[in-house]
Amino acid sequence: MDTVTRRGFVGGAAATTGVVAGRDFLFGGSETLASVSETALGPVIEDVVPTTCWIGKQDCGMLARRVDGRVVKFDGDPANPRNVGTLCPKGQAQIVSIYDPNRLKTPLVRTNGKGERGEWRTATWSEALAMVAERVNEVRERDPKLVLWQKGRSKAKKFYDDAFVKAIDSSKLGHGAYCSDAGYRALEYTIGLHGVQHPDFEETRYLLGWGWNITNAGGNKFCWLTWPRQMVAARDRGLQITHIDPRLRSAGPFADTWLPIRPGTDLALALAMCNGLIENGVVDVDYLTTYTNAPYLVGDDGMFLRVDDLPQVWDSASDTAVPAGEASEPALEGTFEVEGTTYTTGFTVFKEHVAPSTPEWAADICGIPAAQIRSIVREFGENASIGSTKVIDGVEVPYRPVGIMAYHMAQQELGFQALRAMTMINMLVGAVGAAGGTFSDFTWKIDKNYEAFEQFTVEDPPYDFLLKNSKYFPINTGFPGMLAKVMLDPERYGVEEVPEVAILHMVNPLGSFPGQPEIIESYKKFEFVTVISPWLNETADYFADVVLPAATIEKYEGPISATDQYIDATTLRLPPMEPLFESRGEIDIYLDLTEAMGVLFGEEGYLAEVNAALGLEEPFALPLDEKPTVREIFDRWSRAQGLDEGIEYFENNGVLVEGRIDPTKRFGYAADPPFGGVVHRLYGESLLDAQRQMQAKGADEIYWRDYTALPTWRPPTMEGSPSEYDLYLISYHQVENKQSRTGFIPLLAELTPQQRLDINPATARAKGLNDGDEVWVESHNAVTGESRRVKTNLAFTEGIRPDTVGMPHHFGLWSHPTSRDRGPSPNEIYPTGEGYMANTADQSFHVKVKVERT
């Protein structure tokens, strides 16, 4: 590969000056000397090659500095719009993982029973692949859906989630139910975009940082670095931030106002904000009337008035009901009589629904002063600038510089409806897709779930093991915690067949998912488990039959978006060195595995599915009878993108920057058709319909109660715990960690050595406890009555509500020497399943706990 410049340093291969021999006394036998000695024989080859960060979520562009092929440093790639030459602590520290002697060296085959620490023998790749192929094929022949492909972080979705899963026709399961998928579903339902709220930082002037971990981790699409960059730039332009979270630390000095809200009550605050905006007359009538179902006429049964299947609105010009979209003066508000029956507009139903949600009502629920609620309603409304427009990149669009960042807010029992209600705050002021407003994706591409959610079909049992179309979850993210419960008691959920074999792709459920006891028990049910991972992680240790060693950053992977929401760019992960030991990149592994399974070649084989997923057509399509190298695949893909140099373009340049995203793609109002042609669902008719279908099928109230047309507050299930469980437990990411693999990096372990329990000093002292004291944290499941406890030490902070305690994630691991003895994971005491998940089958990270001295 060519030598490229780094920070203006020209001539990277010339770093041979100033070498001094004979410093053996200083360095002993250390490498520094070895490198110098070689120099005496000839020039050190120093170069810089582009690659892409692997350790976190957002795949920052990187340059690897190499000395004689040995990587000595990763730096951010200045040409990559996403991180512009910078890296976070994880990105810097990951260099340790490419040399980690604790990584898997060869494929391993278990020699002892499952459910305990593994004992292993080494195997060749061909032996291990043949074993996996035989066991998986045996099940596939009976029913391919009984093969479960489960992923954690999938970094080349087209090759893995799409092509591999299609080629073997397996079931698949992700990790989103532990992330923000309740929010994804809420936004897909409400505005049709795949994502959770984020602001247009270039134009936003007022931001509700709702639970947003500004100074740690977590945000829509990006894990950390890009949003903070844009946020500090926005603050230079005067951005004001109201921070809504039980912990101050999630925004730290960037909170202009801190609303320390009670955990799990965000829906109530959002309803109060909607009510306040309506009371203050801060309503964008044009947007609501033109682009939402707010004017649709709703009958007493909660359903839209339909004629020939078309929902009707009231046309004030003709004083008649006409199909939506055909009224010359559609009425946003009012109650009207149509053929002797009374109908009310969706907006009026909404207005009446939120009317009792006064600031005082919400203050009582949320534990924050009513005056503060009034003031953020006023600030939000004033900044919304309803009626104004601004020319952005030559296109005039509505200007509503009020944004919401709400990503991990989805991780609560009422997550789906809370995120719906937050979206309605934006909808009331017309800020969805407006300059400075709120977005949930980078372009106005409508997700397929928008259409799918128009009408739910709730079926009778038997259900598949993911409970698709069941009376439990008409909207169903795919929830490993629920799968665990199903596998432990399939009959209870009307399930006849559970998965028999699993392929675990870069996922560590034992280390990462709440309901840890249920997860552990469920994996015992699998007859055969294959783990693809660089490390013998916790899940592999207990449950793998075969472990296939994967590479970390040292592989080809992609294509990877490098956008920062304003500039369109694409990159690849390129190997800065050969895969360590006998590890292989996952694409290599799937080429080999599908070959061993006999599904690599042919019209329905993996290669054909790769062609389909990557959009490779002649002359770039992969031949279906010839096994390519991964580099060849990306070479063809690169040429298909119009790059005549093929993959060498990326090897030389790192990133393909397409330029600024056109305003007609970015802004919903400017899109053609506007907002991608969908009607925004203020009123969730199909949710109410789903509730009725669930009831008709005999589902218990705990499943159907949150399928309501409008977000409806109720106290979370955890409030049913006995009063001795007097504190709310919340959990969060620290910036030093993302995925359990960061727990295996000693440099990061040094920064976050031990678990802790954040507690307000006043709360602790009232219990006779002091900073640093070792305590039991005991949780209570209000549904089952079960309690679970872990031991940790108190960490005093004045930056947390007195009724709330907090624990970071990424502890409680044991498989790597670096991860041991650093304290427990909150996952050990979070319940999972009924009462502790959203109605969309997404984990809640809230539970009531008590804290006692050990």
């Binding site: 520094t32 050190v44 730290g252």
Partner: protein, 247 residues
């Protein structure tokens, strides 16, 4: 003439500690050694709580107490503003550590090769690294620097010597920025020549209110803080990292 100054923008710092990690990798410092340290600080009572972050590298003082007390001239001040340690000359008396009011000196108590975050003597690994310890060891650090060609770059060289932040002398001498400045995701760190009043860094300091840490001691630090205020007596540290230095 060039005189280097580092500017820390407290209005931008997110306390992420990427700078600490970039420094460690670039300079091959050993376990517990943080030439750059980012304090996470808190003061006030709930709900009137303030949290702030404070990056603290060596202050490269123009009137450096550490230089004055060094009995062998190992700790010295260069014309370009850098305060450096000649690890060939250092006798490990630790006077500099005592004299420094900022707590940025780290003494190498143990054998560095045993404190590089792992066991790197695995034969399969050595086939890849050529025996490098740590595997990411940076050859620039084994080269002499400056007009005097002294051994001043990098850390973890051998037991019994003192070390601290060098402003990445090996990078600065070839026109690059220190590793902490390069990696900072939010441009909270700036670096440049302030002998020339028209450099971006000179202008930035001029246009912003600023302070220096423990300015009252007359140490004349070359690290300038913009935004925020000097930490008050009321602050306490949260989320501290156990660094092998007296603080």
């Amino acid at each position: 003439m060039t005189k280097y100054t580092m500017v820390v923008d407290l209005d931008r710092c997110q306390g992420c500690r990427a700078c600490m990690e970039a420094c460690k990798i670039e300079n091959n410092t050993t376990e517990g050694v943080f030439w750059m340290y980012v304090f996470r600080l808190e003061e006030g009572e709930y709900p009137n709580t303030q949290q702030t972050y404070l990056p603290r590298p060596c202050q490269h003082c123009d009137n450096a107490p550490c230089v004055k007390v060094c009995p062998v001239g190992a700790r010295y001040k260069r014309e370009d503003g850098l305060v450096l340690t000649d690890f060939d000359r250092c006798i490990g008396c630790r006077y500099c550590e005592l004299a420094c009011p900022y707590g940025v000196n780290y003494f190498n108590w143990g054998k560095p090769e045993k404190q590089h975050y792992g066991e790197w003597d695995d034969p399969d690994l050595q086939a890849v690294t050529g025996g490098a310890n740590p595997p990411w060891s940076n050859p620039d650090l084994a080269r002499p620097h400056g007009d005097e060609q002294r051994m001043v770059a990098g850390g973890g060289h051998h037991k019994g010597v003192m070390e601290k932040c060098t402003f990445c002398v090996h990078l600065v001498e070839r026109g690059e920025l220190p590793a902490c400045v390069v990696t900072c995701p939010v441009q909270a760190l700036r670096f440049g020549n302030t002998d020339d009043p028209e450099t971006p860094v000179s202008r930035f300091i001029r246009e912003h209110g600023h302070f220096r840490l423990l300015d009252e001691l007359g140490t004349e630090p070359r690290v300038v803080y913009v935004g925020g205020q000097p930490p008050s007596d009321e602050v306490h540290e949260i989320e501290l990292v156990h660094a092998g230095v007296e603080r």
